[in-house]
């Protein structure tokens, strides 16, 4: 039974949660989302029913009861639509940030929490950004905070193995400490594989 926006509001609360949760990416709430879509369809059905019963040229003062009811159904459709779009929009803005924070390849546990369309969106957004950066020949995702020295000292957290740094093959073993250019270190720090070491 159509509940006049109750489920929609729940979905928006979920969207707020998604934005407020900073230490993980909440899964797409497919179940709730589909319930709201279904409810919207119900409202639409009711709207059509009311419309079919409106008597044309009704001169009763103010409102035909069918018109009053129809208006409420129509509002409900619009309301649910707004809730659905707001939910999608909130997640979308967060997905964009993932590209800037983590780069083009997302870890599996985050990818798993995206819906199929969201994955497509991420891919498209990521490709657009990459090709733009390739065109202007500048990595826009580095230096998210104003840079200090061009070189930083880092400590390895993840297991990286052999990596090409500054055109030299370097072996980044866990817990070892290295000196490298900030531009090279930044994406790896953001991904949690290295940390800035201040000795």
């Amino acid at each position: 039974m159509a509940m006049f926006g109750k489920k929609g509001a729940e979905l928006v609360r979920e969207a707020k949660q998604t934005l407020a949760t900073t230490d993980q990416f909440r899964p797409f709430n497919k179940d709730l989302f589909e319930q709201v879509v279904k409810e919207t369809e119900e409202h639409y059905g009711h709207l059509q029913e009311r419309m079919s019963q409106i008597r044309v040229n009704d001169s009763t003062e103010g409102g035909d009861p069918n018109f009053v009811g129809g208006c409420a159904q129509h509002r409900s459709v619009l309301r649910n639509k707004r809730c659905l779009l707001a939910y999608v929009n909130a997640r979308m803005s967060k997905i964009k940030h993932l590209r800037w924070d983590l780069g083009a390849v997302l870890p599996d546990d985050i990818t798993g929490n995206l819906s199929a369309t969201e994955r497509t969106f991420f891919q498209g957004y990521s490709d657009a950004l990459s090709s733009y950066m390739a065109e202007i020949n500048l990595d826009l995702t580095v230096d998210s905070t104003p840079p200090k020295d061009p070189y930083v000292q880092i400590r390895v957290i993840g297991n990286l193995g052999e990596v090409l740094l500054d055109d030299q093959e370097t072996s980044l073993l866990p817990h070892s400490i290295h000196f490298m250019t900030r531009t090279e270190a930044e994406p790896l720090v953001m991904q949690g594989l290295l940390e800035i070491y201040q000795g």
């Binding site: 009811g69 208006c71 409420a72 090409l164 953001m190 594989l193």
Partner: protein
């Protein structure tokens, strides 16, 4: 007008207001728990969410009754000591809801009352926001509406980030979305470091 995608605006519109139906409405019986049939009769008094009430009111199908937290008793409380009133408990969207209701409400003083409220409470927030101890959640935070809380937190965050800058300086950190405890193993191998 608020942003279409503004989550808080959407939730604010979910607040319930009491309306008086001037006409019969077909198929809205669900909204009235007291109603036995599918329709709402003319003259019925029903609680419905603002987003619906607002539209029906503009079409003059219903008239709106102001929620009780805008009544004379609360106004007296605010006059007595604005900053001590627990507006957050009455309605987390006290101001926004009021703003939306003011143009369609029968009471022309609602707008000035909201402004008076804001002015009375703002000073107190100003003093506390930048100085209150950062670690403890102050008791008076519970008295604030959602909008006031946002204002308060804006101030607190800027003090926090100033202190962070003051004592640690800027540094690179890993992305927050990865969570704290996660340990990454070699699952992200194809790095291109050119």
């Amino acid at each position: 007008m608020a942003n279409y995608y503004d989550l808080d605006d959407i939730l604010m519109e979910e607040e319930y207001v009491t309306v008086h139906f001037k006409f019969e409405a077909k198929g809205l019986g669900v909204l009235d728990p007291g109603s036995e049939h599918d329709d709402i009769e003319a003259g019925a008094v029903v609680d419905i969410p603002l987003w619906l009430a607002h539209d029906l009111c503009l079409r003059k199908f219903v008239s709106i009754k102001l929620p009780s937290f805008y009544n004379e008793r609360i106004r007296k409380e605010i006059q007595a000591d604005a900053s001590c009133v627990d507006l957050g408990r009455y309605c987390p969207y006290f101001y926004e809801l009021g703003l939306r209701l003011a143009p369609i409400s029968p009471d022309p003083t609602l707008g000035s009352f909201l402004l008076y409220c804001l002015q009375g409470r703002y000073k107190d927030m100003l003093c506390k926001a930048h100085t209150v101890a950062l670690t403890t959640a102050p008791k008076f935070l519970n008295l604030l509406t959602r909008e006031e809380t946002q204002l308060f937190e804006a101030a607190r965050d800027s003090v926090k980030s100033y202190n962070k800058w003051r004592f640690q300086g800027a540094r690179l950190e890993r992305a927050a979305v990865l969570g704290r405890k996660r340990r990454l193993n070699a699952l992200l191998s194809p790095f291109e470091l050119t």
